[in-house]
Symmetry: C2
Subunit: 500 residues, 2 copies
């Protein structure tokens, strides 16, 4: 641990960030958008995840686990997944929009709030859609929301182009500004136009049950579909004319990486809310009733609480899992320089499963008393953890495919941190697979053992670091390889600085 | 709107922040703490606020509003307030700790997660404490948590001082490093030591009901008490010796401002979660049952939903209020250069009332049908909004007392934005007072009118901007004052840059 001690000031005062909100010109109401974007990220990540609460609040008692409960559960899971995917799409569009609009003023801040308000209303339309699949009102309201969002975003674009000092300086100084405006407006209004058609048709004839899902799928995969279309067109017609290409270059091209900071902020929000939903359940449900304590436990609060013992174990186990998945994500993104579109998609899928972790917690803690359901619920937990972590692993493998562009030098093949990152990211997929397998072979495997394993994994992380270091040192000693120079990453640092 | 067009790149790519996570040395596992701190801020703000959910989930029907319900409600409000205050204290301590520790590695990240896990467990101990005031188990668990947090923080300090390249560079290069370590360890362990005494005494004799609250109050106000003590000591004994003063200077002195960025991040988290809790209630409770729709409304979903009309109005009204309170906070902190301790306290109080807004929403929407309770619930809403906004106003007046230090030049007395900031911050206190008064005088005032007013306020903001500009222009024209120079704030910008 004798790294080069960079002498830059690490204290986070307002002077540290030249583009921050500290010493800048706020006299004319023009502000950097940084804080507004963090707030939007927090809002959107919480909305995306919070719909898991109705799923976990579905009361399942093993006696009356009938069709209606199954259907309710399926409905709520569908609402959760639809919300998560649509909100992520809206978030990505928001990211791209504010890559064009570089600064804000009061009017833009208020317009952004209006946009957020409409997005928060989306989950309600999904609930309607899924609960009453035969009534077109849900689809109609959903389309109205999408149209409203599109209208507000179009207003933001028009306003920003009317006061060009609010724009990204590259666009501001460009000579093709009107061309840009038309292009961006076209993209912003594409989804709403589609939805307008759908809303009109939903008024005229009742769609089949599948119709609404088809519409949703279209909206979610619209960017990919249009990408594929333009690729096909490019193949058939030949390459497009250069000016249009340079328009694409900026912000709405799908190869353009998402802002890494905003991907991190959105992910942080999801992890934070998931970790916190767990304690909410503990506080609401696991406080014994004063009457019960007197009657059943002869006034002994400790005895009353010990009934809930498995819940607390499950809580600590789940928190450790969420925390360590965040930790793996954090380590991963430390080594990533750019988040491409496909990495963003994989990140979304990983986060969707992370959002499902409260369900795993509720499963393992609710069924902790019934021995034959216990193994079942451990399996559900393992599956959720497995998918959450394997998609993280997939982000890394995708990044490795274009490692020159996407990764820091130390994490590339042969880098100092490569082996350790591999081990770190492979730990959870392997551990959850192992736990899943052991539920099949070991009949005495229980939730208690499962949660204790979850709590033990952090120490595994520390142990891992030691082991990987030892193994690498051994390998090098055996092969007689020289140790990498401690300053080896410094020569790669200069290309990362912004070109003026 | 023709401000000076600063040509710096506004796109938020990783190259923009020299202290960010972009091009830095991650080869030895040493990382900047920025992202971990944002994650901690998000977690802590959500935990502080989420305990309002049990309060709003308390089912109150006007017929059976008896003593037991009142007591349950009071209990839950107490838990919410205690959680909010304690978590804010823990957050402030965390901020100060990571002003000393400038960089992190994997071990510190894991230790921080352990600290977070212990903090998330605090609300449960409060629930126990308040539900069973006569049993010392709640206090005992609470003290255990505080001791665990203190132990983890002490570990972080010891670890960071053992690898000094993790420290704030100012401390790293100081010659008094061991002195610093002892001093910081003393502060970190002061609260836990107090709690250890309390836990021990709670085992030996049952405390009175007030005892637990006294303990809580001590922990919350410990920084202020110790500040007052040292002030008294200073008065009695005379000024302390200089080396101890220079130790204080760094981070743990109460006059040392909190990190403005982290205050913003914490506040953003609270506003974001409050805005999102509203839609959760809508989605869980306001989806009509399929059977009901068929039987009561003859299959008409629109008719069934129109029963919930007031709820939707209340939702949009509340979202507009939360959004605009965030907007006012955002505008305020744009003009603030430093957040002093007293401003931090006022901010906490304002946020605590913002966290109470879901309660206001539930009050106004649940009682919307009973005419005589309606006015009552509008009054509760007005009171909550009034306190949330008046504390924001108080932050500004406090900042004005030391305007040289704390405010940007444009917001000071006579600055261009001064009058507008005043109007912006005074809008909500005035509007809520007006609404409160009108419930007393106008018998026809209803929740519907109240919510429509809430929705109309954003337009008020825009109107306000216009009116203030007009009024200022008129005043200046009447008095013949010259317009302030557009570049007048530039000469004040250089002192904001970090001194190397």
């Amino acid at each position: 641990m004798s790294g080069p001690q960079t002498p830059e000031p690490a204290r986070r005062t307002q002077g540290d960030y030249p583009t921050g909100t500290g010493g800048e010109d706020t006299a004319d109401g023009i502000q950097h958008s940084q804080r507004m974007l963090s707030f939007s990220d927090a809002l959107l990540s919480i909305i995306a995840t919070v719909m898991i609460l109705p799923v976990t609040h579905t009361e399942i008692s093993p006696e009356q686990f009938d069709k209606s409960i199954q259907r309710l559960l399926a409905t709520r899971i569908a609402v959760y997944l639809m919300t998560f995917l649509i909100v992520t799409v809206a978030w990505a569009a928001h990211t791209r929009l504010f890559q064009v609009v570089g600064k804000i003023d009061d009017t833009l801040a208020l317009l952004n709030l209006a946009c957020m308000m409409t997005i928060t209303f989306l989950p309600f339309t999904f609930s309607l859609m899924v609960t009453f699949p035969e009534v077109p009102l849900g689809i109609f309201l959903f389309c109205m929301c999408v149209i409203a969002i599109g209208a507000v975003q179009a207003l933001i674009v028009v306003y920003a182009f009317h006061f060009p000092h609010l724009l990204n300086p590259q666009i501001e100084s460009s000579t093709h500004r009107t061309l840009y405006r038309q292009h961006i407006l076209g993209i912003v209004l594409r989804g709403p136009a589609l939805c307008f058609a759908a809303a009109a048709s939903s008024l005229f004839f009742y769609p089949q049950e599948g119709g609404s899902y088809l519409l949703m799928a279209t909206v979610i995969f619209l960017p990919y579909v249009s990408k594929a279309c333009s690729w096909c067109k490019g193949r058939l017609v030949g390459p497009q004319e250069p000016p249009a290409h340079s328009v694409e270059f900026f912000t709405f091209d799908l190869h353009e990486p998402l802002s890494k900071e905003r991907v991190e902020a959105f992910s942080d929000g999801v992890y934070a809310i998931v970790a916190t939903l767990l304690i909410l359940d503990i506080c609401e449900d696991n406080i014994p009733d004063s009457k019960d304590v007197k009657e059943k436990f002869h006034g002994s609060l400790v005895a009353a609480l010990s009934v809930y013992g498995p819940h607390f174990l499950a809580y600590f186990g789940s928190f450790a899992t969420v925390g360590l998945l965040w930790f793996a994500h954090h380590s991963l993104f430390l080594h990533i320089r750019k988040a491409t579109q496909s990495m963003g998609l994989l990140n979304t899928l990983s986060l969707a499963f992370v959002g499902g972790l409260p369900l795993a917690y509720q499963q393992t803690s609710a069924f902790a008393q019934q021995p034959h359901d216990e193994l079942e619920s451990v399996r559900v937990s393992c599956a959720i953890i497995f998918f959450a972590s394997i998609f993280q692993f997939a982000i890394w493998t995708t990044a490795l495919l274009h490692e020159e562009e996407t990764l820091q030098p130390s994490a590339r093949f042969g880098g100092r941190e490569h082996a350790f990152m591999f081990a770190k990211l492979a730990l959870y997929p392997c551990a959850s697979l192992l736990a899943f397998a052991s539920t099949c072979f070991l009949s005495r495997f229980s939730t208690a053992i499962f949660h204790l394993t979850q709590i033990a994994v952090p120490f595994g992380f520390l142990l891992l670091r030691l082991l990987v270091r030892l193994a690498l040192a051994l390998l090098r000693a055996l092969r007689g390889l020289p140790l990498p120079a401690p300053g080896g990453q410094d020569d790669m640092r200069s290309p990362l600085l912004p070109s003026p």
